[in-house]
């Protein structure tokens, strides 16, 4: 299918010269992108690159079934263009962002408003969609929530208990990460990549390191790629276990909640065994990993891993055996497969709608070219499915780790990394525990970043939470929210 695309094809974690990216005048470019989306491509990235008085728009598409990516760009333009969102809703946030960052107006966008812009000392959230009627009431929650959790604002339109519409307004966590990357990499860049979303440190750090390697037309030593894959699965295990515990807590099923809180820490401590930091900070660097997993340490890791996996399996079994838990999760917060495809859900939220979407499988790079775990899918799209996919992935990541830790490749952990090539575009996708982490970098004539785009899976998936709440009782918001557990700072950047 992708063979006939007019876009330039490239594989995940590779680069191509900027001049090799085909370009079209703005309206033709929108038409070409829409045509690719119409025949099944998925929008991974859509962003502007200022040039002269105008802005070029760049589209990175994924042809998942063909295991390839494709990229195209417009000629520089200003003003308006016909909105892609009108026919392809998966573009809606990308187009709002493009308008906010570069002033290009998607004409016909149904809900054009700021994404994260600052207005004084709060975000410019704009007007909220309102449902009118005497029986309708509005509930506003946040930005400061009850609990230790990041800030965001939720605006519900309700008729009695039932939610008719939920609008999610974010931007509170905006730290200006993309803006700071211009002219980079700078000395703080790697640390900033590790804190884009703190619970996804390994995935974002790996994506950035891979970008630096692709821009130099090289790759990290195999042993470093192996270690990154191990750390990535440990990150998945810790977060999925924490989420199972949090879901159990929200339906007052305390045995699993209490056990998983502890076991999550056991997994974090395995990452700390490798590099000292429970979130994996300091481990991944461009062209390298900074710490090795020597045989004695690997043996210790394996032993502790097996014990933690047995614990989490047992804690999960209590939970899945309980009819009271299943009854609370089934048919709550459902997203249909058609909706999921239409809004471009990624990661476990997409897999819980029956979509086979997993970068490790669809676009394998790094160590995943040599060893993969089976994709975990569940069809029902509800809270139950999102919990179930987590359980399945805990099992499969665990099996994957047990195999891989025991079979390390020989060789060095680091290599000298050549400087980034000038005027080059690189794309790196990594399947973080929430889903697809996408980094795109474009270098200028000096080999420094001219534009660096980051798309956390949460950017795609917050809309999924909003849809999941439709015609759901507002009292089920906590379990719906936990079942997605999206990142605020990863979205806000």
């Amino acid at each position: 299918m992708s063979a006939s695309t007019p876009f330039a094809l490239l594989a995940n974690s590779t680069a191509l010269p900027w001049t090799d990216v085909p370009e079209w005048p703005d309206a033709d470019f929108i038409r070409a992108t829409a045509a690719e989306l119409a025949r099944g491509a998925r929008l991974c990235a859509w962003f502007g690159v200022p040039e002269g008085a105008g802005t070029r728009v760049v589209a990175v598409l994924a042809f998942d079934a063909d295991n390839t990516l494709a990229v195209g760009r417009s000629t520089p333009f200003t003003g308006g263009y016909p909105a892609l969102t009108a026919t392809h809703p998966q573009a809606h946030l990308f187009e709002r962002e493009l308008w906010e960052q570069h002033g290009l107006t998607p004409e016909g966008h149904p809900w054009l408003k700021p994404v994260r812009r600052t207005a004084g000392n709060a975000p410019a959230v704009g007007d909220f969609f309102r449902v009118e009627g005497r029986e309708v009431h509005e509930v506003a929650v946040g930005p400061v929530h009850a609990g230790i959790i990041e800030p965001g604002h939720f605006r519900f339109q309700c008729a009695g208990e039932e939610v008719l519409h939920l609008e999610i307004a974010l931007g509170y966590q905006h730290r200006g990460i993309e803006e700071a990357l211009a002219g980079g990499p700078h000395r703080a860049t790697m640390s900033q990549m590790e804190t884009i979303a703190g619970d996804t440190t390994i995935a974002h750090a790996t994506a950035h390191a891979t970008i630096m390697e692709a821009l130099a037309f090289t790759e990290a030593p195999l042993r470093a790629q192996w270690l990154r894959a191990i750390a990535l699965e440990l990150e998945r295990l810790a977060n999925h276990t924490g989420d199972i515990g949090a879901l159990a807590n929200d339906v007052a099923f305390l045995p699993t909640s209490a056990a998983c809180g502890k076991i999550r820490g056991d997994f974090l401590n395995l990452t700390a065994l490798i590099c000292g930091n429970r979130f994996g900070r300091g481990l991944v660097r461009p062209g390298a990993c900074r710490y090795d997993l020597e045989p004695a340490r690997a043996a210790q890791l394996l032993e502790r891993l097996k014990s933690a996996l047995a614990d989490v399996e047992r804690a999960g079994a209590w939970f899945w055996d309980a009819a009271s838990v299943r009854a609370r999760f089934e048919n709550v917060g459902a997203v249909t497969p058609a909706q999921a495809a239409e809004i471009g859900l990624v990661g476990l939220a997409a897999r819980a709608c029956g979509l086979v979407r997993d970068v490790r499988y669809d676009h394998p790079a790094g160590w995943h070219r040599f060893a993969q775990a089976p994709v975990a899918v569940w069809p029902s799209g509800d809270v139950f499915a999102r919990a179930r996919v987590r359980s399945l992935e805990i099992k499969r990541s665990g099996d994957y780790l047990c195999e891989q830790v025991a079979a390390p490749p020989e060789g060095d952990l680091r290599d000298t990394l050549p400087p980034p090539a000038p005027d080059t575009l690189a794309v790196a996708l990594v399947e973080g525990w929430r889903g697809e982490v996408c980094h795109v970098a474009l270098t200028g004539a000096d080999g420094r970043f001219r534009r660096y785009k980051i798309i956390d899976p949460s950017f795609h998936n917050w809309t999924g939470l909003a849809l999941a709440l439709r015609l759901t009782a507002i009292s089920d918001f906590p379990i719906c929210n936990k079942s997605f557990n999206l990142s605020y700072c990863g979205f806000d950047l």
């Binding site: 800030p151 966590q173 640390s191 999550r264 300091g282």
Partner: protein
């Protein structure tokens, strides 16, 4: 059957709460390194090898002056430790590093090589909060790592509630705030309002390099370089993120719940 199974599992697991502080503190991971120690006296004349390596610009060496390392801004990457030809910057392996004053985290000069650990709240505040401290957590641009390792103190492994410390849902129920993140401009108003909603007397705890000094985002126009620029801070807990043990040590130190020979009584 199910109820009996659950009870049996629960009994099998036993008590999983760490014995600390009555027993020994759990060991930090061997590659963690703990707090840093900086001996400026060991620096070679004119050497500033570590200065440009620090991602958060935590190390300074003005011409003719000794080196200074701001542990509040440090993200513990240890690039300086690895690069120092004189071994002037070393890792102590010590989890304790919470301080009451910002300047107590600036290391280097003779006598000031290590962090000056926090002293407990004085008389009236300790009487009010010593046996019951309720905190409202506010993430203001935090990446969710400091939040996660604060949250972990509530799990059965740490059981923060046994010290009378709890996180509450409303600032109206709180005795103070625990702030994470560099305080993004977009959270400034919400943070101020939350602070104002807490009844006086109140305390503020800044957790992590971001909340202390902006962390990796220091100097970004979209952030405030830490909580101190928006609200007064009573306790600084360094780290990126701080290990849960470091956070717990800071909280217990503040409430004078540690039998610790190095703690200075107020």
């Amino acid at each position: 059957m199910f109820v009996l199974d659950t009870l049996a599992h629960r009994l099998n697991r036993g008590c999983e709460t760490i014995p600390y502080p009555k027993g020994p503190a759990p060991a930090l991971p061997d590659r963690h390194g703990g707090a840093l120690k900086v001996e400026a006296a060991k620096c070679a004349d004119g050497c500033s090898a570590c200065v440009p390596l620090c991602p958060t610009e935590a190390i300074t060496r003005p011409p003719g002056k000794p080196v200074g390392l701001d542990l509040g801004r440090c993200i513990f990457c240890a690039a300086c430790v690895e690069s120092c030809p004189q071994g002037a910057i070393t890792r102590t392996g010590d989890h304790r590093m919470a301080a009451r004053r910002r300047e107590d985290l600036v290391l280097g000069q003779p006598g000031l090589e290590q962090a000056r650990l926090a002293v407990a709240l004085d008389g009236k505040l300790r009487k009010l909060f010593g046996r019951s401290l309720r905190l409202r957590q506010v993430s203001a641009g935090g990446c969710n790592a400091c939040e996660a390792d604060t949250n972990v103190l509530g799990t059965i492994g740490w059981d923060l509630a046994r010290f009378g410390i709890q996180f509450v849902a409303s600032p109206r129920h709180a005795d103070g705030l625990l702030i994470t993140g560099p305080v993004s401009r977009n959270m400034e108003l919400a943070l101020k309002k939350t602070y104002d909603a807490v009844a006086a007397p109140k305390i503020v705890i800044a957790v992590g390099a971001c909340a202390i000094a902006g962390g990796p985002f220091v100097g970004h126009p979209e952030v405030n370089n830490g909580a101190g620029s928006v609200v007064p801070v009573d306790l600084y807990i360094p780290g990126c993120p701080p290990h849960p043990l470091t956070i717990l040590d800071g909280l217990l130190r503040l409430l004078n719940l540690l039998e610790d020979e190095r703690q200075r009584k107020p």
